[in-house]
Symmetry: C2
Subunit: 206 residues, 2 copies
Amino acid sequence: MGIKNGVVLVLSGPSGAGKSSLINKIKEDIGDYYFSISTTTRPMREGEIEGVHYHFVTEEEFKKDIEKDNFLEYAIVHGNYYGTSIKPVKQALSEGKLVLFDIDVQGNTAVNNRLGDITTSVFITPPTLSELEKRLNGRSTDAPEVIAARMSMAKREIQRISEYDYVVVNDDLDEAAEYLKLIAKTARLKKSNEEINRFVQQWEDI
Amino acid sequence: MGIKNGVVLVLSGPSGAGKSSLINKIKEDIGDYYFSISTTTRPMREGEIEGVHYHFVTEEEFKKDIEKDNFLEYAIVHGNYYGTSIKPVKQALSEGKLVLFDIDVQGNTAVNNRLGDITTSVFITPPTLSELEKRLNGRSTDAPEVIAARMSMAKREIQRISEYDYVVVNDDLDEAAEYLKLIAKTARLKKSNEEINRFVQQWEDI
């Protein structure tokens, strides 16, 4: 329909579901995309880079951005603020990009409220809770209390997976990647309400 | 997730949009499917075959099936009854098939009310109204008053395309077929509420 229009792909799911591995596997095949970097007040961990993993800010800065309505969505998780700035998302959409979000269930609701017409949402989950625990214990990065918090959050989030357009069970990484690739390619075909209205208007005129 | 679960793909759009050509182009690539045959009271046309193009029945038979709640959806269009019997659809879904419906906007609403969780809907449209008129005039099958009725129905239906998950503009047949193929393959990944509930239940147990 002529004008470039970006779309949104929301990826949710517990840490340990394999989101990063999946994105790495499909990123060559999904065309021009923008991976939304969240802003957070949580302390930077070893190996993390500002502007790559997160934008790290103080609670004061975060609260100022909330006041200015600069966030598409934000939430407090385990005592820390996490949010998505609107500006770079709008920019990427205007460039016709596929905008990827790695956000939680609350974030998905917020994004759908604002950009529902162009949003496709996927919940990525390990096959079972015990498999999730195994994967989290296998990573040396997290303290036991962090793992416990992640497990209890996963239990809460799995109750809301019917809010997602698609659920991908990451049992076999290659198969899950194939599914996610299909979903991402099809997400590109979503049209905004604005685009649909423009099409309907010109449909009878020409 | 183990048990076979069928899904639904609704195709709507005016006669002349190219739905049949598109289905022919993609049918080898979409796996095991069942094309739902509508039941109608309209007279059989030359070249049409009972059980292939439609199930042709009398108005009396049709009304009896309405009373028995045998239709997934039905409507009266240009004075004739058209409907979709539930039984073969249920059978195909239990066999894990992709069930294709060629139905109108009202039918899409009805199917989404009953099977929304496993349904993906696509509106296929010619690029413009004048292109539609050209295509309809190019076919020798329809009388002028039939063409006029189709045109005015198309004008009404195009107003409701935002009710569809996807809109495919059939300008270039090959491109439109590629899009439809992607949508059909991704439609396979939809999970029923029942399947989701089963997954959530066993997720914590194993």
